[in-house]
């Protein structure tokens, strides 16, 4: 580099670098905005399709919010021919070991749990992180799925019927808490619906 | 009988009070091994020849004043103190003829400038008993001159020229003379013998030093494992209000001057300071006695008491030995079985130096010849330091011996200096207690050597 570096040259180079970078990033942002938005929606609707009987509406657009204890949970109702075939509640517990645990819980119209998916968590690999596999395995699954909408599931350590993950009671409690909250939200939703229609 | 009863009462009364007197922190309790305690002082038979090294003291070697072939009289100086003062004259204990002047191996096996003398037959080694002469008030100059003329060096081990030490007190505010009768080293009993046999002369000597340096009191510190010595000294000093004798807890290194001064005066000498800076001068009991003999009778330092001990020694005991006699001859007269000796130590087992050349001469500072046999002569296998902290606990100079030793081993000179390597007095307490038998003191010596070398 034999030419002397004048201040203007420096500013020009830096400025154009920033400009090019900004343009590039703007372009890529626009390019990926839709896929990014779709990415999360896709996961949700895929989960719903797996756990629910067939439905014809778009639960994501029909979603409603419901407040419990300061959290706003989303309810995704699934309709077929205008009648409710089930609904999913995206529930959360703040009492996980490593932070929040988000669970999608599906219900039959009469309030029984139809299925669940862990959406997000930051539990310890090998311990709490096993929760989805653990609770999907028998006999844990049958202790949760089909249970009534009372929302009072408990882990075995607290005298309940759901076996906790060995060594991760905290995660298990939080998971069950999230399911329970989903139950109570769904029950409220169901009652409101019943009132509305009656 | 009366004396014995008195002694018992004295011992009982003093013991509890005296046991508290010691230094802190640190110190160890090695086995006493003082099997020669209470023995008579035995004068050896005169040898046929002697070798007088000219550098038996700390400082510059003495300058010979005789020539090869000269005839010398017993007590005549063969060499005088070198010019800078840190030096001491050397006298011949016997009449005889100078057979050689030149390099001779000393007991360490190192060649040193020496005067060799063929001793005329028919002489004997004797400590002439003399009646206590009253030496009037003396000045500093008189004592320095007497010590210098008599070639007196510190007999407590370091062999520092006494004239120079006392002369150095000139103009300093010295209020206390501390006399070191601790004899804290295991095995050694030569000072004990001196205190038991010549308490009056020791007390007289201490008072000379006192008046020379202008002090107001003399404190003689003796470990409680020498009750008879304490008793004798107490008797001898009863008439002198300015001299007190205190018993000290038996703990090594009670005789280190820093430790002794703390124990008897309560004054703590900070690191890097000398006793003088707290107004104290320290002298060994035998040094005090030698000083008295020099002042009162003009006697030079030509003999010393040497403890000869060890399993392989047939007649262990305290021997009055002329300076210059060979160690081999001394061992022979003490009935040593040379074949059973694996290691010879000049001095006590804690600080003594090994004797590598058995035909080397006894010197002024050689307080003992200790013969070790079998397992005693060998160190245990060195194991890894387990950081037990015992060395730290026992170091009287409040150092971290394991750390300095490690720095020494790794050659980390600056770290070693920063950790205070130069404060180490090489008392050996740390090596003694180390359960892993680590040669801590050796490695500290390496560190000190490296530091001194790097500063040159």
């Amino acid at each position: 580099m034999s030419r002397p570096d004048s201040v203007w040259r420096m500013i020009a180079v830096l400025g154009s670098a920033a400009l090019i970078s900004g343009v590039l990033l703007g372009y890529f942002h626009d390019l990926t905005a839709t896929p990014i938005a779709q990415a999360s929606a896709r996961r949700l609707s895929e989960s719903l399709r797996e756990m629910m009987p067939s439905f014809s509406n778009d639960p994501l657009t029909d979603a409603v919010g419901a407040c419990v204890d300061g959290d706003s949970l989303r309810i995704y109702p699934c309709m077929d021919d205008g009648s409710l075939v089930g609904a999913a509640v995206e529930s959360i517990s703040h009492n996980g070991f490593g932070g929040d645990i988000r669970v999608l819980v599906c219900f039959t119209p009469d309030g029984a749990v139809a299925g669940f998916r862990v959406i997000e968590h930051s539990e310890t690999p090998g311990l709490g992180a096993k929760m989805e596999d653990w609770f999907s395995g028998e006999p844990r699954r049958s202790a949760i799925v089909g249970s009534g909408g009372g929302g009072n599931l408990k882990v075995s350590a607290d005298g309940g019927s759901v076996d906790a993950i060995t060594g991760a009671t905290i995660t298990s409690r939080a998971f069950v808490e999230a399911v329970n909250r989903a139950c109570s939200v769904f029950n409220r939703y169901r009652n409101e619906q019943a009132e509305y229609y009656s | 009988m009366n004396k014995i009863i008195n002694f018992c009462i004295f011992a009982a009364l003093s013991y509890s009070e005296m046991k508290r007197r010691t230094f802190s922190p640190g110190g160890i309790h090695p086995p006493q091994l003082k099997s020669t305690a209470g023995s008579r002082i035995i004068a050896v038979d005169a040898p046929v020849s002697i070798v007088l090294p000219l550098g038996q003291h700390i400082g510059r070697g003495a300058i010979p004043v005789v020539g090869k072939g000269d005839r010398v009289e017993a007590g005549q100086p063969v060499a005088v103190a070198g010019p800078d003062g840190v030096s001491a004259a050397v006298h011949t204990p016997f009449s005889g003829r100078v057979s050689a002047i030149g390099q001779k191996r000393d007991s360490r096996g190192l060649p040193v400038e020496s005067v060799s003398i063929d001793v005329e037959p028919g002489q004997s080694v004797a400590d002439v008993d003399r009646t206590l002469a009253d030496v009037g008030p003396v000045g500093l100059g008189d004592v320095v001159k007497a010590a210098s003329d008599a070639g007196i060096v510190g007999l407590g081990g370091a062999a520092f020229p006494t004239a120079f030490k006392i002369g150095g007190c000139n103009g300093l505010a010295i209020d206390t003379v501390v006399i070191n009768g601790a004899e804290c080293e295991p095995v050694l009993t030569c000072d004990d013998a001196m205190m038991r046999v010549h308490p009056d002369e020791i007390v007289a000597g201490t008072r000379l030093i006192k008046s020379a340096v202008g002090a107001t009191r003399v404190i003689i510190g003796v470990e409680l494992n020498k009750p008879e010595a304490i008793f004798r000294l107490q008797e001898a000093s009863a008439a002198h209000g300015d001299v007190s004798v205190v018993g000290l807890q038996t703990k090594y290194p009670q005789g280190g001057e820093r430790q002794l001064v703390q124990a008897v005066t309560g004054r703590y000498i900070a690191q890097g300071c000398l006793p003088m800076t707290v107004g104290v001068v320290v002298q060994n009991v035998s040094t005090a006695r030698a000083l008295y003999r020099a002042m009162a009778f003009g006697e030079p330092l030509v003999n010393r008491i040497v403890t000869v001990a060890g399993e392989a020694i047939g007649r262990p005991g305290n021997y009055l030995v002329p300076i210059g006699m060979s160690v081999a001859e001394l061992l022979g007269q003490a009935g040593a079985d040379l074949d059973r000796i694996d290691k010879l130590v000049a001095g006590g087992p804690m600080m003594g130096r090994v004797i590598e050349y058995i035909d080397g001469p006894v010197t002024k500072s050689m307080s003992a010849v200790l013969a070790l046999s079998g397992n005693d002569a060998f160190r245990r296998r060195v194991e890894p330091c387990v950081r037990c902290g015992r060395c730290v606990d026992v170091c009287p100079n409040v150092l971290e011996p394991y750390l300095i030793a490690t720095y020494g081993r790794l050659g980390r000179v600056d770290d070693a200096a920063e950790a205070g390597a130069l404060m180490c007095m090489e008392c050996g307490s740390c090596s003694y207690v180390c359960p892993s038998s680590r040669p801590i003191t050796d490695m500290i010596r390496v560190a000190k050597y490296l530091i001194r070398k790097s500063r040159k």
Partner: protein, 195 residues
Amino acid sequence: MSKLNIILNGLINENPTFVLLLGMCPTLGTTASAMTGMSMGLATMCVLICSNCAVSSIKSIVPAKVRIPVYIVVIATFVTILQLVLKAYMPALDAALGIFIPLIVVNCILLGRAEAFASRNNVVDSILDGLGIGLGFSMALTMLGGLRELLGAGTVFGMMVYPDSFAPLVFVLAPGAFIVLGMMIALLNRIRKRC
């Protein structure tokens, strides 16, 4: 240096993880499994190739004094693009690597190669260097991830090798990252001293 040598250099002689000890944070933070380790390595490699290429092509017009800021802008741009692409098309991977994707920006492998190689060599060589170093990094991360996963979960790339009830969990947790990497470097030290 032949083209092949440039690549091999990055893989072995100047392996960023085992030899240069660069980029320690992603090395430790994303290797709980072979899959995440490899993904992180490849993601870094993509950015490295792009940034080396870009730096090498603009090297003659950038004044020395603003060199570093410009390189940072270049690298950050590619990292952000990567981030957006991952979010859009591989959201699960994006979630697994988390904060370590944006942190590629401060991975000194990138700045280091931009400085030490790309700003002094032609575009093709720079791309090859990016490929070599990137592959070296990916290889190291995959090995580390594979080993940790094997020890700590009994699987490799998710395939069971032995039942996970026998697997010491520590190896997939934070301490395992440090310990396995330390042991691997020690092992390599030992092998290299022997040769």
